[in-house]
């Protein structure tokens, strides 16, 4: 299985570099959707019960698990707030982004 995990935008200098039909050659990771965000989720790990619900309901695959706790990937988190809304112990706060 080929993994397309490089976060680089593909740019063609000439038609000769392009495939003959429109086909993907890389992932969308170059597109840092974190820039869309107005509010950011902040996890209070002291009160986290490690249930994994925030991870499960994240539509942007932006919550990752490290050392058995959830962390937010701010490069891609669009700030929808589902994690905070669904957290059963309300340990995720949505905080205004400073622009």
């Amino acid at each position: 299985m080929i993994r397309k995990k490089e976060a680089k935008k593909i740019v063609f200098q000439s038609e000769k570099e392009m495939p003959m039909m429109p086909m993907s050659l890389g992932s969308m990771l170059y597109n840092k959707t974190g820039a869309w965000r107005n509010i950011r989720p902040v996890v209070d790990l002291e009160n986290c019960i490690q249930c994994g619900i925030c991870w499960k309901f994240c539509p942007d695959m932006s919550i990752f698990i490290e050392n058995e706790f959830p962390y937010v990937n701010y490069d891609y988190c669009k700030g929808c707030g589902i994690c905070a809304e669904e957290c059963p112990v309300k340990c995720i706060a949505m905080v205004e982004e400073e622009k």
Partner: protein
């Protein structure tokens, strides 16, 4: 092996000998025998293929596209309204660079309902990025299907193999059905460079911005421009193996002709009867049958008509508000090269009205009696 078969079955045998792997088709008169025979071949394993009996022509072409992008050699056949229903998907096949081969039985577009021949169905699809071959005999139909797969797969551009309703589709002729082993040697298995597979996942046909779309279309045209050379090359290869040349055009007594009748489809062979008659009465006539309409054989047309005094293009089709479509193309081929050559445009045989040798005689008489065309188009045989 020689067999007496109908034109529709020539398509089926061509698809069989090419070892089509997926066929998706929907019935329409006068195409039905093509798919009936293919479904029998699939059922008795004469042909190892999957036949998807879809619920419309639109789905037929969509399924062909799916099968082709998965890496299978894919064939379908349709006619008239069915081809029109496919229109959207024709773009999808060529833009996706999928070498689907399709038989089209030239049938007039309704209303009124007509099952008889003219070319407005296929010529309405001329700008979809498909190659178009207009055939004049059952042998040519069978041979062209095999050649079309070879050319299409080499260029990643789909092909339409076209024959007249009834005049060819339901006419029985002696056809040499080549040996499978020799066809296999001529046409190797379809092995696309990229295809839809989890082993090498790509997303095909996604959102394409103005930054890229233009170049993709440029590439399609550049590859289409390679087709005339490739058709001749594969046609000569075919001749070496099977003894029959398959080219872009087929000219008859044109070298010294004063008047050249330009035709397509079965009308070409009818024209030759008229040419022979005229030659007997001292008129130096010739016939140029244009076989490949897309890509258009500009150079061949220019070379063949260059010594003629008159050219009469006979169209079994019309672009309303303009001219017959072969007439348009012949004029555009000559423009800037030989603007002094008078080219006459005739419309004949729409909706299956017979085109006979006397039709051509009438056409030749009109063209010979005038220095230059006095009307944009000349209708032959309208009851006025």
């Amino acid at each position: 092996m020689k067999k007496v078969i109908m034109g529709n079955h020539a398509l089926s045998y061509g698809a069989m000998l090419a070892r089509s792997q997926v066929i998706a088709a929907y019935p329409i008169t006068p195409q039905t025998q093509v798919v009936e025979l293919l479904s029998e071949m699939c059922a008795d394993k004469t042909l190892d293929a999957k036949f998807i009996k879809v619920e419309s022509e639109h789905s037929a072409m969509a399924a062909c596209i799916g099968a082709s992008v998965a890496g299978a050699r894919t064939f379908t056949a349709t006619s008239s309204q069915g081809l029109a229903l496919m229109h959207e998907m024709l773009h999808w096949a060529s833009g996706g660079r999928l070498p689907v081969v399709m038989g089209d039985i030239n049938r007039s577009m309704g209303p009124g309902w007509s099952i008889w021949t003219d070319q407005n169905d296929s010529l309405s699809q001329r700008d979809t990025g498909w190659m178009q071959y207009y055939c004049a005999s059952n042998q040519e139909v069978l041979d062209t299907v095999i050649q079309a797969f070879k050319v299409s797969e080499r260029l990643a551009i789909p092909s339409m193999v076209i024959l007249d309703a009834f005049a060819l589709s339901h006419t029985y002729e002696v056809v040499d059905i080549p040996d499978q082993a020799k066809v296999d040697e001529y046409l190797p298995p379809f092995r696309p460079q990229v295809r839809l597979t989890p082993d090498d996942p790509h997303a095909f046909g996604g959102l394409t911005s103005p930054e890229h779309y233009f170049e993709l279309r440029y590439k399609l045209q550049k590859d289409m421009e390679k087709a005339p050379g490739l058709i001749e090359e594969t046609g000569r290869e075919f001749e070496t193996m099977f003894g029959r040349y398959l080219g872009l055009v087929d000219d008859y007594l044109c070298d010294d002709a004063d008047i050249i009748l330009v035709t397509s489809g079965t009308a070409g062979y009818t024209a030759r009867v008229a040419v022979d008659d005229m030659r007997k009465s001292g008129i130096k006539a010739g016939n140029l049958r244009i076989k490949v309409f897309r890509p258009f054989p500009f150079e061949h047309v220019r070379r063949i008509v260059k010594n003629a005094k008159k050219v009469a293009v006979v169209d079994r089709n019309i672009s309303y508000g303009h001219h017959g479509m072969f007439f348009q193309e012949v004029k555009s081929a000559l423009y800037g090269h030989d603007d002094s050559l008078p080219v006459f445009g005739f419309i004949a045989g729409l909706g299956g009205r017979d085109i006979t040798p006397s039709t051509f005689r009438e056409i030749a008489d009109i063209a010979l009696s005038k220095d230059r065309p006095e009307e944009e188009i000349i209708w032959i045989g309208v009851k006025r």
